[in-house]
Amino acid sequence: MSYRIERIEVEGFRGFRKRKELKLGENLVIVSGPQRSGKSSLLNAPVWALVGSEAEKKELGPVPIRERVRWIARNLETDSTRVKILFRGSQGEELVVGRSDPKGKVTVERDGREIKKGPLEVLGLTLDGLVSSVFLPQEVIRAALSLEPKKRQAIFIQLAGLENLSTLEGCLENARKILEDKEKKIAELRKHVDGRIGGQVSLQKRRVKELWEKVLGLGLSEEVLSPDGARPLVEQSLKGLADFCSKYGEKMPSIPEVRGPEDLPQFVNEMRGILFRLEAESPETRRQRDLYDRKRKIEALISDLEELEEKKQKINASKEEILKPHGKEEELKMAIQELEKTLEGLDREIERGGKYLKMVEEALSYFETLPQGLAQMECPVCRKAKVSVAHVREHLASEIEKAGLEPLRNQRQEIEKTLKGKKAAQEALIHLAEQEKKLEAMSKELLEKASELRGREIAPNESLGLVLKNMAQATEKGLEELKGIIEARGRAIQGVRAQLEKLGLVVELHREKKRLAELDEIPQTPQYKAFIETEDKIHMQIALLKELLKGLEQEKMEAFRQRFADLKDEVNDLYRRLLGREDFSEVWIDEKDWEVKTRAGDRQPTVIQVFNVGDMTAVALALFLASAMRANHQAGFVLLDDPIQSLDEEHERRLAEILADLAQKRQVIVSCSRSSFVEALEDAGTVKRQVIRLAPWDESRTCRLQGEERED
């Protein structure tokens, strides 16, 4: 099945601002028109419909196109672009590919039903395949011969129809890169883990070494680490303990049996506990503890007693100070009673004077109510005539005050002050008495405590201070006597402990060696093994991929040779028909450096070295057209955008003949601005042809057909 282009619809695409629909009815379609008339826009429309934004990149497939940098599909005066291509299959099927922008929507319909396949996929094409055998833009024609080797190789591989092998190679290469990234990470992790384990091992070995030195320093031999090597040390420790118990009358404690090195830690721990208890719990130690307790209590009592005496002395001194101005306590009491009595008498006198004054006041108030004549009286005090009642009241009150009340009040004030002082002294004495009482209670309590500590009552005639002093001396003596006994016992325990500590060191050495052995086991753990296995697996996969890639490369080269051996005749047939040079008899692709070479006698130069631009165009066209004739995809059309660059009229005619032949097999859509080539195409071969003539670009700013009226 192969598809040909039957209709092109464009709107807002490149030079076609307005909507345009073109029917392509024949096998040879010649698109002619002057510069800027829209020939390339028309040929690019099916390409854009098929590959979309890929057509706007600076590389079209493997070919870098300088002119494609920042290429814009949309007409600059429109907001959207729409292209629809109708392909007709060899059995009459209809395939419609539509693409629009800015929505970027692409639709593929087969016989009116939308299908979920990409447009290239439907035609059995890849992007690279499109560039190498379907669409030959003017910028690419010679570029294929002068690109850098890797790009040239890519183009020639496409020309050979081996893009699937290249894709596979790309996938494998990609997989290898991913695996190598993983491998790098795992290797780093492993190195880190190995480093950490190595560091721990070094540390542990140093610990073991230090312990060994200590063990050997104690006069022990390496044998202590053998299964039965520590037995003599166990026995020595047990014997020391038994001797001690026998000497000090202690009962021999029960100790777990040592059957092997694994029992040693428990044995050492038990023994340490026993020795601690023997040291802490002997009768002498207990007695010593009691005596220290007694000593502390006696010292506390002595301190309390001293404090009590001091307080008593302070109270007596205060009493003396208070009574100094008042005589004895009894005299103070009597003086207070006397003063209170005097104060009572004075209060009575003052009250009487007050009453008399009140009577005068009432009399004068009465006079005030009498008729006016009585107001013309003489003052009985100052003898002034015709004074008012108020005048008389004032003078009489003043005289009464002077006569007795004021001295009485002054006297009372004095007495009251004296009484207050004496009462304050009395209250201070009462407070001191209360304190004395408390001290007495404390003194009694102290006596009771001392009696209890002494074990018998302290008689009233005994001095508490002296008793406590004697008790302290006796305790001190007791402690002195115990010290020697306890020290001797401690030395005995220390002897046993020293034996045990040797064993403890051996136990520690055992433990550290065990830890070292555990570290040695880490590489054997399932986790570490899994880690290494993963790394090995990745190594294996990478190596396999490398082998595969190597094989694929060989396969690709072999296939390429095979394919170009098949194509070589066709390429050279086209080359001779197009160029007709006798001096350079043939061309071929040398896969060592991916150069296109030619033969000149014994010499094999590259075409770039010896050909002019026109000849190189002819070689590139020969390669492309040979490939297009052989292509096995379903795109039954070839798009040639202005292929005659640098070809003269004779070569134009030759190319026209070749294209007319090619159009017998495939639909050929070719654009050109030169009339001589259009005429050559119109005359060449017998194939049916269609000429689309485009009008020159004008103020309407949209491409259109010649003779078509401007819409504006």
């Binding site: 492993r190 190195k191 070292l516 040695d520 054997q524 290494i532």
Partner: protein
């Protein structure tokens, strides 16, 4: 690649990797004595390991000729601190000669910073250059590797005290033992 191996006399089933403490000792020995000096010892220890694993070591050369001849294997020994391993001109020549003589050329590789132990790979077709473990992954002779790594720790642990005390006489003694088909000091 199919490799027929001599049967191992002992079966321990413990290790197929080097103990970290053994590796630490090797590392210390290399640091103290220098890489190439220590390399000779490691080669000799490997020869004894082959004996312990039940192989017959026909020859061991420290200067000229292949490093080890073990049955039909001709072994070139390479020890490094870490990857890659370098195959020099002389090694490549020995590999070619081994094939001519009908021997199987083998590279025995020890990366002294990894607990993987010895990596034994077929050297057939290898030419001079630097190789990482992943480059050689498809060439590994796993069964032989396991047999060697099973015994290497024991051999090192047995000889290391002697090597530390008097390396030169230990070196001679190791050779004497090898000639007698024994591995233990």
């Amino acid at each position: 690649m199919k490799v027929a191996l001599a049967a191992s006399k002992e079966k321990k089933g413990r290790t197929d990797k080097v103990k970290p403490s053994v590796l630490e000792e090797i590392g210390r020995f290399r640091k103290e004595k220098g890489e190439s000096y220590a390399g000779k010892f490691l080669q000799r220890l490997l020869a004894l390991t082959f004996i312990k694993a039940g192989f017959d070591v026909e020859a061991e050369h420290s200067v000229e000729g292949p490093d080890l001849l073990v049955g039909r294997f001709q072994i070139e020994v390479k020890t490094t601190t870490s990857e890659p391993f370098t195959i020099e001109k002389k090694d490549a020549r020995d590999i070619r000669q081994a094939i001519k003589k009908g021997k199987t050329p083998v590279l025995a590789l020890l990366e002294c910073s990894s607990f993987r132990g010895w990596t034994l790979v077929s050297a057939e077709g290898l030419s001079e250059g630097s190789f990482s473990r992943k480059d050689l992954a498809l060439r590994r002779i796993s069964e032989l590797e396991r047999k060697i790594n099973d015994h290497f720790d024991d051999v090192v642990e047995a000889w290391m005290p002697n090597l530390e005390r008097a390396p030169e006489s230990a070196f001679e003694e190791m050779d004497a033992k090898r000639r007698m088909g024994q591995w233990h000091p």
